[in-house]
């Protein structure tokens, strides 16, 4: 007698968050009145009911082993009745109703190598992507650079000594998985050579019209190579976006000597004070120099330092630059202004300085 097949479970979606809320949160849901910044990495939210919930935020490399997740779970059991969450920037937050648990939790975290911080006017965790660990598109690694940069900015995570919040993000290619394009500082992997067409396979594995249509600048045209239908790339029209490669594996554009990093500054997401905005190009190219990427680390640290020294309270990176102007930003940071800083894509004309508002 055959056993009836187990009904396959699908389309159930995630378990409801309600199952995972701390009792104090459940009780005070929607009733929070205000919060206090207790210390770097420690928040206290106070409810209309008088209840308080404490948050201890710890930095994480995001790429976590199940060992570490189990460690977090154990700490949550020990101090938080098992309740914790992660943030939109991949930090882990322990939710406590007992103030006296804060210190021991902090110490346990510290002992395990996880810093507490990232709240208020600190540099929070770097939002980042897969890099060489997992993505075929990557022009650089992600986790490695993040590690090096955060090592250098560690004190800015555990202390709150910035004029305002600072959000750093990294994406390993122009697909920009993550809000890289709206970060105070964005670290972006870039290619600098056009795709090398694989004339042998392209006709078999890709739809050539799709490949041609994928190019934002129309750089790709049909070609016949060794009697086979293929494409060719007009080198001057290619800006190495990699969109053709996303569409077609026969268009790889990795090139170790020319792949590298660009640095972008002054973007933001929040609507606080000024409107959200894109980050703008600061450094067009820095080489990939693993394992510690000193050029990238120095560049980021330099920008952070100049910002910290010069910005006024409440000024995010971009707001500070608004006030002092881009010429002075380049001047203070010692970064060279080049032809590449001048936009030449679709709406380029709108970035030219069309006023006599000039600082000298």
């Amino acid at each position: 007698m055959a056993t009836a097949p187990v009904k396959r479970i699908t389309d159930i979606g995630p378990p409801s968050y309600e199952n995972f809320l701390h009792p104090v949160i459940k009780k005070n849901y929607g009733l929070w009145k205000y919060h206090e910044n207790v210390a770097p990495g420690i928040l206290c939210h106070v409810s209309e009911t008088g209840d308080r919930i404490y948050t201890v935020r710890a930095g994480s490399p995001r790429l976590l082993s199940t060992h570490t997740i189990r460690l977090f779970a154990a700490l949550a059991d020990k101090y938080c009745d098992g309740f914790l969450r992660f943030t939109s920037r991949n930090n882990v937050e322990f939710l406590l109703d007992k103030k006296e648990n804060i210190e021991p939790l902090k110490q346990d975290l510290h002992a395990a190598g996880f810093p507490v911080g990232g709240t208020n006017n600190a540099i929070s965790n770097i939002v980042h992507t897969q890099g060489w660990v997992h993505c075929h598109s990557s022009a650089t690694d992600a986790s490695g650079i993040v590690k090096c940069v955060m090592d250098a900015l560690y004190d800015h995570f555990t202390e709150e000594k910035l004029p305002a919040k600072m959000r750093i993000a990294l994406a390993c290619c122009l697909n920009m998985c993550g809000a890289v394009h709206c970060s105070d500082i964005a670290i972006l992997g870039i290619h600098r050579k056009p795709p090398q067409v694989n004339n042998d396979t392209i006709n078999k594995i890709c739809e050539i019209p799709n490949v041609i249509a994928s190019c934002p600048t129309g750089a790709i045209r049909t070609a016949t190579v060794n009697g086979k239908p293929s494409v060719e790339v007009v080198e001057e029209q290619c800006m190495y976006c990699g969109n053709c490669y996303t569409v077609c594996p026969a268009m790889p554009l990795n090139d170790p000597a020319n792949d590298g990093i660009s640095i972008w500054v002054g973007g933001k997401v929040s609507n606080a004070r000024s409107e959200p905005r894109f980050s703008k190009l600061a450094i067009p190219f820095l080489p990939n120099n693993p394992p510690r990427w000193p050029e990238v680390v120095n560049a980021v640290v330099n920008i952070v330092n100049v910002y910290v020294e010069n910005a006024r309270k409440h000024e995010r990176m971009g707001e500070w630059i608004d006030r002092i102007g881009w010429p002075r930003f380049f001047d203070l940071t010692g970064i060279e202004f080049t032809r590449y800083h001048i936009d030449d894509f679709k709406n380029a004309g709108l970035t030219y300085a069309r006023s006599a508002h000039i600082r000298y």
Binding site: F20, R62, T66, H67, A73, T246, A272
Partner: protein, 394 residues
């Protein structure tokens, strides 16, 4: 930790320094799966070569779903056979990334059984990323996940895993229930999430207030940003306390108000709420004294995306204000009209934001049956190149 299989002098450098090390994490996991050793191996090669060693992902998945799995193959399978296949599984996180320790352990157990033991907590879209397994393990992992009450997230041309800020669970500023809304939308669109049928991806993100802690305005096709319509709730005694405790209200609060609608005479703070643009700054600086108003709801913005193909876009205002009670119905009604139009007119790999750019906002509004309002634009047109419609002419 299992025995070392490869020399990884470069990666070893990344175990140094105070910030927690992802290399340590990979090394820790070598006792879970041999794939971790080979991952270290191939990554070391990448560090030497300065390029990745992955091939363009193939189409792999679980039965009946078109998304949720990212296929990944090594381009050095002979040297690193354990990562010859190294697919990721996107597991839809609980809304707001809330967990119990048990729930986390459940996920760990499943992943230790079927994969590398490596994760991303979380992916940029918000999913739990199970990082690396073979094709054979996909279906069993899925079975265990659903049995435990979890499901996959999105990938491909479908609804992507929606995400929400912590919201009313722990934030005093949430102007609507982001968690409930996000969870409802996630459940409502399970079919669209798992079975790619769109021109391209579609992302929802829910932020409870204009601080936008899930970066919805930068990263989602439909951004729901909480806000309020009436006056900022003001506690004058608390304002005075801030002033007494040394806050320079003129400079630090009024001086940064983008609409210049605040006045401080040393005694009393006066806000011209009519001009307030709801930026949150004053509230952020004085959380004990100022709070969003009582008439709460959200603005709905449309069309954010990363640069590929036609350039990055921030989301733009579609509906300036929807009362909190009407929010879910409005989102669903709107979404169905948007998808109808996008499905019909969207080109392959054309996000909704790019489609709107291409056809023009006014035509888009016609198509989805919304009236134009000035809140949708930062300013009216400045060029006189107006296409008058036949019905408006003589």
């Amino acid at each position: 930790m299992a025995d070392k299989k490869y020399e990884t002098p470069m990666l070893d450098e990344l175990e140094k320094g105070p910030w927690p090390s992802f290399v340590k994490e990979i090394k820790k996991s070598t006792d879970i799966s041999p794939a971790c050793q080979d991952l270290l191996g191939v990554l070391e090669v990448s560090y030497e070569d300065k390029k990745n060693h992955w091939k363009h992902g193939g189409i792999v998945g679980v039965m009946g779903y078109g998304g949720g799995i990212i296929g990944r193959y090594s381009d050095m399978p002979e040297q690193f056979p354990e990562v010859a296949h190294f697919h990721t599984i996107r597991v839809n996180m609980p809304t707001g990334w809330f967990y119990t320790s048990d729930a986390l352990r459940t996920l760990c157990d499943i992943w230790d059984r079927h994969g590398s033991g490596l994760t991303n907590m979380h992916g940029s879209t918000g999913d739990v990323i199970f990082l690396g397994t073979t094709t054979d393990e996909l279906e069993p992992t899925f079975k265990d996940l659903t049995a435990a009450g979890f499901d996959l997230g999105g990938s491909g041309s479908c609804v992507r895993t929606p995400s929400a800020c912590v919201g009313q669970a722990r934030c005093e500023w949430a102007c609507y229930d982001t968690l409930a809304a996000c969870n409802d939308i996630t459940q409502t669109y399970q079919d669209e999430l798992h079975r790619p049928a769109f021109p391209y991806k579609f992302k929802f993100k829910f932020s409870g207030c204009p601080n936008d802690c899930v970066a919805s305005i930068a990263r989602s096709d439909l951004a729901i940003i909480g806000t309020w319509k009436d006056e900022i709730q003001q506690d004058d005694a608390a304002v005075a306390e801030y002033a007494a405790s040394g806050l320079d209200i003129q400079k630090d609060v009024c001086g940064h108000c983008p609409s210049k609608c605040m006045e401080w005479d040393g005694q009393k703070l006066r806000i011209s709420n009519r001009e307030c643009v709801h930026c949150m700054h004053c509230i952020n600086v004085m959380p004990k004294a100022l709070r969003p108003g009582k008439e709460k709801g959200a603005a709905i913005l449309i069309g954010a995306k990363a640069p590929i193909v036609q350039g990055a876009l921030l989301a733009s205002v579609l509906i300036p204000f929807v009362p909190a009670e009407e929010l879910l119905d409005t989102i669903k009604e709107l979404t169905s009209r948007i998808w109808d139009f996008w499905g019909e007119y969207g080109k392959n790999r054309e996000r909704i934001g790019e489609l709107i750019q291409r056809v023009g906002m006014a035509n888009f509004l016609d198509a989805i049956g919304l009236d134009p309002v000035p809140e949708m634009v930062s300013a009216p047109r400045d060029n006189p190149y107006v296409y008058f419609k036949a019905e408006d002419k003589i």
